[in-house]
Every structure is written in structure tokens, then in C-alpha cells.
């Protein structure tokens, strides 16, 4: 078997669609074989997921923002696998503003903005810590950002078990619930919040402008293609690595604030068991978008629809196993895993073709 670069690449949108269909097909088979799930029921859950924008909205907003965040660093060929840790740090910072400052009672609007901004700063700092050894020592960012996710979880765990342990929590280990003033208002008829919607629009336009019209954006894109050119042009490559990864963490951090203010309202111990895994799922979104900013919301919608479908399936037809499943994550994981794997494999055929060579 030999793989040859195609003389003319296939249109870029074909692969995500094929991968999606193939991944769903594989998931249906896996669910049928292992759980005896009827394919019709699985497919109807998927249809449900895709046709309920209002239900999907919350996940959609979060995943689009994470997708945009990761896109910035991926454009620079800096593989930020640390979205999860950056979100967790954002969650921590937002919680601090909401529970341990007087701001929510003085000016709720300002408090909400501060939660988001501080979450971004915290996410940015956490990413910066991974960026420094990458930039100056050449330490691969993939294991570093990944490992730092766990360090972030445990830092927050220590806080929640220790100084941040709530006073009105019965026997649960968790923080107090944030004041009602800083619970983000919901957009009627949907699961998303106004704060999330505005943030999404601002970040989308901002990143579009950054990548298109600023020297930082141009340099991040060139960093991804040929850092040697930056070097010979007199632009510091380590600095650009730091900028790309820090901006990525900065944007991802905001999702921590959205998760707190629009979803969970408190941190429960252990945080790693209560995360929505947006940092990991966001990687799927960024990859499915083929690193095209315009395609990020589309990819995010697809993934969040599948996410919803997994949960819906469990509610509707999980049967006796459904009671044992927690939060439908298993089915979601099967969907996400098989689509992403199919995508990863199939992406090759857009640029390469496979020739079988028979040995004589």
C-alpha cells in the first residue's frame, strides 16, 4: 500500500461530512452490538439533537468559544490540548469574583463582566505557563498542556475541599451557590445565556479581525507554516509561540465563567468528575472545522447536537442500562470518539490517494 499526494485536493468540506456519516454509522453498530440498542432509536435521538437549537444552544456556545480558542493556537501549529485546564482556571477565577468579593452586591453587571474577564486572564496565565517551556526550551506542548489539565483540577479541588468549602452545603463537598445577581440571565426559549451569546459574537469577530488584519494574526499563521521565515524576518519565534498559546488560553478561560454563571452555579468536588469536558470536545470542534474560522460554529453545532443526542438517547431508550449510565457520557464518548477517529483517518484522502501495489 502506497500513499501519494493528490495532484488536486478534494474540496475541504467533503471530508467532515463523510467522517460524520461514517462515525455515526460505526457508533450505531457499536451501540447495537454492545447494548442491543436499536439503530432506529439511536438515529431518532440524533435527529432530535439536530432539530432542537434551543436545547443545544448552551453547549453550542461553549464549544464554539473553545473551538475559536483552540483554532488560534492550532493556526500556529501549537497544539493546545490544555483547554480543559484553562477552562478550569477560568472557573476558579470566576468563582472567586462571585463568592469572595462584594462586587455582585454592588454592581451585578460589572460583576458578571469581571467574572468573564478574570476567567480569561486566569486561563491566559495557565496557558502562558505551558507556553514558556515550549518557547524557550522546546518542550513539546502536547504532554505539557495535557498534564497541566490535571494539575488545574487538583488545585481547584484543594480550594474546594479547603478554604472555599461552602457553609450551606449540607454534607456535600462543594462551594456555596453564587449569588442570584451573578447568575447569567438566559435567552428565553433556549439553554444559553445573554452573556454567552454576546461573548461568542465579540470573540468571533475579534478573532476574525485578529487573524485577518493584524500583524500578530499574520505572524501566528506564518508560525504554523514556517517559523524559519519569522526568524529570518527578525520576529521572535518564542514570543509568537507565547502569544498564540496565551491568547488561546485567554479565550478558553472565558468558558469557565460561562459554565459557572450559566450552568452549574457552584464548584462541586472533585471538579474533574463534574466537568463538561469542553476542553477536550473543543479539540474535535477545532479539527472538524479544518481550521477555518467560519466553519467553527458549524462544527460546534454538529458536535453539540450529538452531545444532546447522547443524553436524549439515554433518557428515551436507555432502558435498564440507562439507569446505571451517568449523564449519558458513554454514548457521547462513543459518538465523539468514532467520528473524530474517522475524520482523522479520512482527512488523508482529501490530500492523498491510496494506491495498492502488488508485489510480484
Amino acid at each position: 500500500m502506497v500513499i501519494v499526494r493528490r495532484v488536486k485536493p478534494l474540496p475541504y468540506w467533503i471530508i467532515p461530512i463523510i467522517a460524520l456519516l461514517a462515525g455515526i454509522a460505526i457508533s450505531v453498530i457499536i451501540l447495537y452490538v454492545l447494548m442491543g440498542a436499536s439503530p432506529a432509536a439511536v438515529l431518532s435521538a440524533i435527529v432530535y439533537g439536530f432539530t432542537r437549537p434551543g436545547v443545544v444552544a448552551k453547549t453550542f456556545v461553549a464549544l464554539t468559544i473553545v473551538g475559536i480558542a483552540l483554532l488560534v493556537s492550532f493556526k500556529g501549529s501549537i497544539w493546545n490540548i490544555g483547554g480543559e485546564g484553562q477552562i478550569t482556571f477560568g472557573l476558579m477565577a470566576a468563582t472567586w469574583v462571585a463568592l469572595f468579593t462584594a462586587l455582585p452586591y454592588i454592581n451585578p453587571g460589572l460583576a458578571q463582566v469581571s467574572m468573564i474577564l478574570l476567567a480569561m486572564v486566569a486561563g491566559g496565565i495557565w496557558a502562558l505557563l505551558a507556553a514558556l517551556p515550549r518557547a524557550y526550551l522546546g518542550l513539546d506542548e502536547v504532554p505539557v498542556t495535557l498534564i497541566m489539565n490535571y494539575i488545574a483540577y487538583y488545585i481547584v479541588d484543594i480550594l474546594v475541599r479547603g478554604p472555599w468549602l461552602g457553609k450551606h452545603v449540607y454534607n456535600y463537598i462543594r462551594t456555596d451557590t453564587i449569588p442570584a445577581q451573578v447568575m447569567f440571565p438566559q435567552v428565553p426559549g433556549t439553554t444559553m445565556t445573554w452573556d454567552g451569546l454576546f461573548l461568542l459574537i465579540i470573540l468571533f469577530v475579534g478573532v476574525w479581525y485578529l487573524l485577518r488584519n493584524t500583524s500578530i494574526g499574520l505572524r501566528i499563521r506564518i508560525l504554523g507554516n514556517n517559523p524559519n521565515l519569522l526568524r529570518s524576518s527578525g520576529i521572535s519565534v518564542p514570543l509568537m509561540i507565547i502569544v498564540a498559546l496565551t491568547i488561546s488560553g485567554f479565550i478558553a478561560g472565558s468558558v469557565g465563567a460561562l459554565y459557572l454563571g450559566g450552568d452549574v452555579y457552584r464548584i462541586s468536588y472533585p471538579v474533574e468528575a463534574h466537568t463538561a469536558n469542553y476542553g477536550y470536545t473543543g479539540i474535535l470542534v477545532a479539527w472538524l472545522s479544518m481550521l477555518e474560522l467560519i466553519a467553527v460554529p458549524i462544527a460546534a453545532y454538529i458536535v453539540s447536537a450529538l452531545y444532546t443526542a447522547g443524553i436524549q438517547y439515554q433518557i428515551l431508550v436507555g432502558g435498564h442500562l440507562g439507569q446505571l449510565l451517568t449523564a449519558g457520557s458513554a454514548i457521547v464518548d462513543v459518538f465523539i470518539g468514532s467520528i473524530l477517529l474517522m475524520y482523522t483517518i479520512l482527512i488523508t484522502i482529501s490530500e492523498y490517494k491510496i494506491k495498492i501495489i502488488v508485489k510480484r
Binding site: 493528490r6 500583524s215 499574520l218 514556517n226 521565515l229 526568524r231 529570518s232 527578525g234 520576529i235 502488488v358
Partner: protein, 516 residues
Amino acid sequence: MAAEANNAKPTFLSPPQEGKKPIVSLRGITKRFPGVIALDHIDLDIYPGTVHALLGENGAGKSTLVKVLYGIYTPDEGEIIINGRPTRLTSPADAINMGIVMVSQSPQIIDTLTVAENIILGLEKYNHFVPVTKVYKTIREESKRVGIKIDPGIEVWRLSYTQKQLVEILRAILLGAKVLLLDEAITYLPIEEKQRFYKFIRRFADEGGTVVLITHKIYEAMDVADKITVLRRGKVAGHLDRKEATIEKIRALMFGERSAEITYERLPTAQPEPKTILEVKDLWVMGDFGGYAVQGVSLEVKKGEVLGIAGVAGNGQKELIQAIMRLRPVMKGRIIYNGEDITRKTTYYLRVNGVGYIPDLPAKYGVSIENSIIENIAVLPVYSRGIINWDKIRELTLKLIKEFEIKTPSPDTPVKFLSGGNIMKVLVARELTVATNLLVAYNPTRALDEATAIKVRKIIKEKVLKNKVSAIIASEDLDEIFQISDRIAVMNSGKIVGVFPADKAKREEIEHLMVM
């Protein structure tokens, strides 16, 4: 099979059979890459006991052809016939099994492994789980016989370039090579070492082995080859016997209808002004592998002159150029640009103060091929700080495309879709525009075919003359140095060993200084 041959014979190989049947034949070999046909129906016969040179300029398809022969590439069409039998080669392991071994320009042996580990990897007679020390004895014996001194247990990163190439050869012999593919393997060796390799090649062929020598240097082919095949634009331009080959004939085959354009006569000499633009004083710079690559170099470039730095690869030119561009730390000494000490300044400072830079391997270091022409121009800090004014840069790009006759559908075309010559023009156009004061270049035309290379040299020199710009150009190609320089400095082992006005410099003297 390789191992048996290696066990039984006291000499390199069995004597050549009479009747002269080709050991390797290629029939209609074709290989396409996006945008190019690298090999276009190549037919070739290689006979045992001969040294067969494959000549061609950069981009003629030599390297692709060797990679096909070594199983790295599989051809799209055509047949490889080895010992009369059609054969599919899908990996180097296949080729090695057929007795074909390649030694390439950059040593393939792996730095973190020992010599013995590198060698045993290809030896089929050892099973996977034997200890590597099993092969030590064989290596010691064989290396003594061939006349190479090497410790099998030493890690490769401790060896010099020449030693690494020797290990490659030793490896080929131990693999029982019948056909030795030398892909520019000796082109970059110092002269004395080259002579040793020539002797070895001769002996190998006399004992019945076959050598395929891939080179773009006509002299190298004339020195050792029995037969010469010239490639041009992916096709066989002609086959020659050593006896009938002359430089003129080969040139005509190599460059075809363009051979008339290819002249190495000097470009017009500049009239420099007394002002010194660049001054380097007693400069010491470290190389990549420890040790000083630049050892106390001092030189001067006047306003409006081109200083050429001649030298064999690896004599410190690369490090000197990088130190001047502030891409490599200076351990001792000073660099003064335009009256200002820049020894501790950054590349950025130079780039926004009138210095243009054409690095070695331009496609690798000078442009980003995935980005468009306009983006490749906008990246320079003089053009983009903060928010980019795309309209202004587009205007500039269009102007450069016109002025330098860059062939492209649009300024937004990714550079990878341009031909090598046009990519080079993008780079040269950009750098000459920012080089209002000084142009620094290293092997500025290495990857180009000759006709384009000469055109690019002309463009550079014209600009220098017209705008009174200074230039320091290091090149491993002596033709280039002679053609473009006003003064020539010769660099050897990290030192400047002579400076000559170009119009009075003698080629023999400079060549002598380069290898002394």
C-alpha cells in the same frame, strides 16, 4: 542473500560477468508530483563493473530517480528490471535485498545510535533479538580491510561529516552492495577526502561492483565515471561514454537550448564609495556541534560594493552570515553596521533599518510556501506593525510582481504553486526592496536551475549598482562568487585566508586557498 555474498567473498564482489548484461534497467519510469512531472519515461541501463554518472542541474529529476531505485518512491508508471527480472521496490529494505544500497548527501545514519547499531539494522543475517555486540567483530575486520578506522561502539554524533560518510560506505559494503548509489555523497567533501573516495569507487567497480554517481558537478562526473547519463527536466537528455564526453557536450545536454544563456562572465563591477557600511572585527562564533566555527574574522564592506565570501561548505560561512544577521550569538568581537555597534542588537533592529537577507535554502528559511505572495511580503516588520494596511501592501506586491516579472495568477496565490525560480524572485524582490543599505545572502541561488540562477544574480547586481546598496554574499558555488562579487574573501576553517579584487583574482589561487 546480502549476507551470503558478504560472507563468502574475500574481495568486494564477484568479478563482472562477460557478455555485459545490465544489472539494473529502467523502462519508461514516470513519477508525478503535484504540479510537476519529476520523471518522464526514463529509460536507462546500468552495467556491472562500471561507474555510471547521472548528471543534471537542480530539479532535473536525479534525486527522484535515485529514490525510485532505492524504493523510497514508487514510480507511477514503468518497470525496474534487476538482473533481468522485473522487480517492485516498495521500501529501501527491498532494494537492499537486491544488493542496491544508497549513500546520500546528508548521512542517513542516526546520531543517537552507535555505529554498530546503525549498521546491524540492515543486516538480515542477524535476527531481531541478537545483541548488537555480535556485529562488532565483523565491523572491525571489514573496516580494517577497507582501510577505515572506526570504533563500532561509538555514538554517531561524535563523528565528523567525513567519518559519517565513511561509515555509510562501510555499511554499504557490509550489506553486500552490488550497486552503490551515491547521491551527491561526495560533492560536499573536502578535496583530499574526495580523492580517497574516488580511489575507493574505482576499486569497487574494478572488482565488479556498480556505482551510480549522482551529481550536478560536471567535473565530478568526468573525474571518475565510465558512463554518463544526462537528465534534463525529468527526461534523459543523452547517454555518453567517458571517452566521447567533453564539457561542451555535457553542457549542451544539461542545459539544452538555454546553454547559450549560461555564461559565467563577470557582471559589471561597482564603483564603491569610501564609506564603510559593515565592519566585522575579530569575530568568534560557535558552530552547531561545539567549537568555534568562526575564528577571529575581520572584514569590511564599503558602500555600493559586493563582497563575495568563497569557501567549501562547513568552513564557517553559514555561522558568519547568521552572526551578522544576529541569528547566532557572538562570543567575541564586534559587528558594526552603518557606524553603529550591533553586536548586541536583534535581527529585528537590522530588518527595520535597511538590511535585506536571503538565507540558505530559501524555500525553507526565506518564504512560507503555504502562505500567499502578499502575506510573504507583509510578514516583514517594516510592513506590518499592529494593524496591517493590506491595500498598501497589495499595491507594493503588484508593483514587485510586475518589476521582477514574477509569473503568478494573482498576489493571493500561495507561494507553493509557483515554480522554484518564481519563488526565488518573490524572495529576492522582497529583500531587495527592504535592503536600502545592505543585502546579506548565503547561497542565494543554490536551489535554482542555472539559467534562472544567472538571471537572479543579474537582478541582484543591477539593484546594487543602481541604488548604491552594499552586499555581502557567501556562496559555495565559486562560479557565483566570481560572477557577482567586486571583492572576494576566501574563508577556510573559520578564518579569512585571503581577500582579492574580483577582476584580478585567479581561480586556481582561490581554489587552492579554499582547500588548503
